[in-house]
């Protein structure tokens, strides 16, 4: 691990990152970058390609980054903007999600069919709302933080999230039903 990353962890004076920090940065952030790309694009190979592009760009900009928080913010921002650009260029068809590796068992039991259905419904959201939902629920960012990452007004982000949730709730109830009012 490079000195800069070690200093960032120890909270000492920041200094630019260098190539020695790169391996540690990949190991630490590959899951985040790949997951944002995958949840947005819903295409495994496209997500890997995009994630590789993001890390390549990170390598070129290492000297401009000075702390772990800065790297995290930069990666989220670049990944999100690349996703939106990619979405503008082509329409991604939904692919079977069976080939996607499942991570370690989550703390809360998850219904795999419901998860698949939800991912599919998220994939149908408009691009700006989809990336906001991914950042909100994958990265647990607040609307303020999402607004900073996406360069959008906070009010816009809040409205996009509200509309997206309303759509998802309606679609989910329509598809799987909700006799006990669980999702209302």
């Amino acid at each position: 691990m490079g000195t800069a990353l070690a200093n960032a962890e120890l909270d000492t004076a920041p200094e630019p990152l260098d190539a020695h920090d790169f391996d540690a940065l990949i190991a630490r952030h590959q899951s985040m970058v790949f997951s944002i790309a995958f949840h947005f694009l819903q295409d495994r190979s496209a997500a890997e390609e995009l994630a590789q592009d993001v890390f390549l760009q990170l390598y070129r900009h290492l000297h401009n980054l000075q702390s772990a928080d800065h790297v995290m913010f930069w990666l989220r921002r670049v990944t999100a903007h690349r996703c939106i650009d990619r979405g503008r260029r082509r329409h991604f068809k939904m692919r079977a999600l069976d080939g996607v590796p499942e991570p370690e068992a989550p703390a809360v039991p998850v219904d795999p069919l419901l998860t698949r259905r939800l991912r599919s419904l998220i994939g149908d959201l408009p691009d700006p709302a989809r990336i906001a939902v991914v950042l909100r629920y994958q990265e647990d960012l607040t609307p303020d933080e999402i607004a900073r990452v996406l360069d959008r007004p906070v009010a816009t982000v809040k409205s996009q999230l509200q509309r997206a949730l309303k759509t998802l709730r309606e679609q989910l109830v329509r598809v799987i039903g909700d006799p006990r009012g669980y999702y209302r």
Binding site: F22, D23, I26, A27, Q30, S31, M32, F34, S35, F38, H39, R44, A47, E48, A51, Q52, F55, L56, Y59, V100, P101, E102, P103, P106, V108, V110, L114, T115, L118, R119, I122, V133, V134, R136, Y137, Q138, D140, L165, L168, R169, L172, Y182, Y183, R184
Partner: protein, 106 residues
Amino acid sequence: MKALDEELRGALRRLQPPEGFADRVRQRVESEGRFARHQPTRATGAMRWALAATLVVAAGGGLWYRAEEQRRLQGEEAKRQVLLSLSIAGTKLKAIEMKVNHGEER
């Protein structure tokens, strides 16, 4: 509402990238480094521009020199023709003068 939030968190939890992802990123970084070494730097780019400018100036100078040389040769040819004409005219005048003088002597 909370139920949907939880379901979304579950559906959008982080996933591990395909195996070998980090190695593939490193390979791309290395191949880009090799490619970058063969790319023209700013200095070599400037040298190329300087070479191109020198060639343009040399070619322009050559064309100008050739045009000047052609004009000089044309001028010399015109001068030679004028001198020849004057020489012919002088010879003819001399012949006429001799005829006139010869007539007067008779």
